[in-house]
């Protein structure tokens, strides 16, 4: 036995003492499953037969106290801890790049209370979000959080990277839904943020943890808003000749302060490729769909107003059915074989900007990709609309990337570097709801400028041994 072996067994024994024998795994099957998330780079690495970095221990805590015990053990031995929810993040945020402990939170999955008076649910954040939605629906409500990853991700994962769902235009992103959090700090203290999100009692600690990606502690419990099931939800779709016309129509819907629950605008290429394939709408142009929900009279009135805005410049009114069909198939885009897949290289250049800037951001990224990477196809749609702007869900796809994984990954990173920096230059912010993780850490300094040192100071203060998800969110790695 080497000193490393002795230490390994000591740590394993401590961890099993903290969470129970059945809740610490070290076997090959479990560590394989935790060695890659939904980030393209590890998928490519696996696809090409390369060995991924596995965690040393997969630990499943069941209480905040157990999380605290695990973090204290990690601090004692100075080993990295990577929180893991559903593992479906696309940014490498859950990758155990330094081995160590994967803190798999899925065992913390209880719905603790539904408050029908305040319309909130309090829940352990390891719960799968589809399970949460089902439980809330059974009580007669809805979270109104319907991301494409609803079946895969945990609530904690959404909190960690500021996730969003398809109805965000009305119901908000996860940061708009969360009331308060219970958090275990990196040194093992269990804290609660203030019980309501609107107050004048200093800066918001809830906000500090929203989007912190497991670098500042482990969120263990949340209270979030719930909503009544709407009486009616209706959709409508239009076809436009140009993306500009469609963007003007979409922005007018928002700036006239109608309250759609969703607007989606697919550019020409995505309309021709994905909308055709998934929705079987074989049309040239730009597909725009929107929906409203709530009391039927209000829905009808708003729908009428939105249709009137679009009818002025649209080339074709595709009607209600084409809109309803989109809603029915909204997740289909993300199932195989409709989703992009190996050996393709693909990335989502997820960016958010004001209406003044969003088209400039789109063209800056599109031109950058098209001019510098002729082997790549650029497609995009605009989703998650606000009073002031919207999110661009742009993607690049390379059907035949280099066979050598190192070359493929270098090309992939180069596209990201150039496209994202072009977007930032035009007022875009990376990103809207996928998070930063490992993938975009290197961009954080460009994005934040001198303000990034404030984030670094917070990280150093809260996590003096840098055990929490090192190397993510632009923070230093374990060896730094």
């Amino acid at each position: 036995m080497t000193p490393k072996d002795y230490l390994y067994e000591m740590i394993r024994s401590e961890l099993t003492w903290a969470v129970g024998d059945d809740n610490v795994q070290t076997n090959d099957a479990d560590t394989l499953g935790h060695s890659l998330d939904y980030y393209w780079v590890p998928e490519c690495w696996h696809d090409r037969g390369e060995r991924l970095t596995p965690p040393d221990f997969v630990v499943h805590p069941s209480t905040a106290k157990e999380v605290s015990e695990v973090l204290k053990i990690a601090n004692t031995h100075n080993i990295p801890v990577t929180p893991w929810g559903g593992g479906s993040g696309s940014q490498g945020g859950a990758l155990p790049i330094y081995g160590g402990i994967i803190l798999d939170m899925k065992r913390m999955n209880k719905v603790l209370a539904i408050d029908p008076v305040s319309m909130t649910v309090t829940v352990e954040v390891g719960i799968n979000t589809q399970h949460l939605e089902w439980a809330v629906e059974k009580a007669g409500y809805s979270t109104m959080h319907f991301p494409a990853s609803i079946a895969c991700a945990t609530l904690g994962g959404f909190i960690a990277h500021r996730g969003t769902g398809v109805l965000s235009t009305k119901y908000g992103k996860i940061e708009d839904m969360i009331m308060s959090l219970e958090v275990v700090t990196p040194t093992g203290e269990i804290i609660n943020t203030l019980p309501v999100p609107r107050h004048a009692s200093g800066p918001s600690l809830t906000e500090l943890y929203l989007g912190s990606e497991g670098t500042l502690g482990v969120v263990t419990r949340a209270t979030m808003k719930i909503h009544p099931i709407p009486e009616s939800r209706k959709f409508h779709a239009f076809l436009f000749k140009t993306m500009h016309d469609a963007m003007i129509a979409g922005s007018k819907i928002m700036t006239s302060r109608l309250r759609p629950c969703v607007i989606r605008l697919y550019d020409e290429t995505e309309t021709a490729k994905l909308v055709k394939r998934v929705l079987d709408i074989d049309k040239e142009g730009v597909y725009l769909v929107f929906g409203f929900d709530g009391p039927e009279k209000m829905v009808d009135l708003q729908l009428e107003n939105a249709c009137a805005i679009c009818a002025k410049t649209a080339s074709e009114d595709l009607g209600t059915e084409a809109g309803q069909n989109w809603w029915k198939n909204r997740y289909k885009f993300f199932y195989p074989p409709y989703m992009f897949h190996m050996p393709q290289a693909f990335g989502t250049l997820d960016t958010v900007a004001t209406f003044s800037n969003i088209e400039k951001v789109y063209w800056a990224m599109k031109n950058t990709v098209n001019q510098n990477f002729p082997q790549a196809t650029f497609i995009g749609h605009f989703s998650h609309w606000y009073d002031w702007g919207c999110m661009l869900y742009a993607r690049f796809i390379i059907d035949e990337p280099p066979e050598d994984p190192r070359e493929a990954i270098a090309l992939y990173n180069k596209i990201w570097d150039m496209a994202i920096r072009a977007a930032i230059k035009e007022g875009g912010v990376i990103n809207e709801h996928h998070g930063v993780g490992l993938k975009l850490g290197r961009i954080m300094r460009d994005l934040y400028g001198p303000a990034f040192t404030i984030l670094e100071s917070i990280k150093k203060t809260l996590d003096p041994n840098n055990i929490m998800n090192p190397g993510k969110l632009g923070f230093p790695g374990k060896g730094a």
Binding site: D28, D30, L32, R107
Partner: protein, 323 residues
């Protein structure tokens, strides 16, 4: 290897998370390996390097699957991850790598004997022969499905040949099958005899409704996810006077405690107890609820880990209504 014929499934499932919320085992162990993605990743590693088939962790994981096929039903493209698991089990057995537990279990199934008794033109195969006095009955626990599911194809065929011979000797024109796993196994395998599920048979007899009673119907993995979800079981229960209540929070999850893996409880009793605990937990808000299942396996397993759990089979429900 058998898994090579599932290359499309491996490629589709290895990086896909879209059905992970429906894996009954993953929902109680919370382990990434107990999801279609986790298992497809394992199969991919084996596909890349056959030596990985020898990894006992990988083998153990594939034999932990409940094979409910809820995931396959949910998938918009219906990728057959269940078939992939079964293929890998066949590869494990063919390579002589099955665990001692699996081998011992298989041995107990290989000696199955089938005997036909009674009189009638219809042959009944199930756990309640006392309810079919006008039928011939065929005894024997499993016609080869369990061995097939464990990966022992050749042994399964031998057992099935004995079953087929006994059926042929009966000279019956119709075979009523009660256990959904056996129904799934037999429905397309026997030439010259009509195979029907017991619910179809009982429904065709136009049963009279008794006083209305509330009950939860626990969907069968096989009937729902393997056999196109026939309406006969639910129609029968409604005809018998049962008002069926929705169980759990959704109609996609499997609450069949390992029925899809046929001998799941014998193979993974600790895990099976957890699957049962999930069902008991979801039932806690009902006062003395009655549960009805198409499967004797499901009934016996749910009773085993909680003798007070009030669960009966469809046939017992029909018999109670008649009495």
């Amino acid at each position: 290897m058998h898994i090579d014929t599932f290359k499309d499934t491996i490629n589709a499932c290895r990086f896909c998370f879209m059905c992970r919320h429906l894996d009954p085992v993953g929902n109680v162990t919370f382990r990434e390996s107990d999801t279609p993605r986790g298992r497809a990743l394992i199969c991919d590693r084996i596909r890349m390097n056959a030596a990985n088939l020898q990894n006992p962790d990988y083998i153990d994981t594939l034999y932990r699957s409940a094979l409910s096929a809820a995931n396959r039903t949910h998938c918009v493209s219906h990728y057959d991850e269940t078939g992939l698991c079964l293929a890998m089990r066949r590869d494990v057995v063919a390579a002589g790598l099955a665990s001692e537990t699996v081998k011992a279990l298989a041995k107990t199934l290989e000696t199955e004997v089938f005997t036909v008794k009674g009189k009638g033109k219809i042959l009944y195969y199930g756990g309640h022969p006392e309810l079919y006095s006008d039928c011939k009955t065929i005894s024997g626990k499993d016609p080869g499905k369990a061995l097939e599911v464990l990966g022992f194809s050749a042994a399964s065929k031998k057992v099935f040949a004995r079953f087929k011979k006994a059926v042929a000797a009966s000279q019956c024109q119709t075979l009523i099958v009660a256990e959904p796993s056996a129904y799934d196994f037999l429905k397309d395998k026997l030439a010259g005899i009509k195979v029907v599920h017991v619910a179809e048979h009982l429904l065709a007899a136009n049963p009279k409704a008794a006083k209305t009673r509330k009950a939860y119907y626990l969907e069968s993995d096989f009937l729902r996810n393997y056999d196109s979800n026939p309406s006969a079981p639910r129609d029968l229960l409604k005809a018998l006077g049962y008002a069926l209540l929705p169980f759990g929070t959704n109609d996609e999850e499997s609450y069949a405690v390992g029925e899809g893996a046929v001998v799941f409880d014998a193979l993974n009793p600790k895990l099976c107890a957890k699957l049962c605990a999930r069902v008991y937990g979801l039932a806690h808000d009902s006062k003395k609820p009655l549960f009805i299942t198409a499967s004797l396996y499901v009934r016996d397993t749910l009773r085993k880990y909680n003798p007070a759990f009030n669960v009966i089979t469809i046939e017992e429900a029909a018999a109670q209504s008649a009495s």
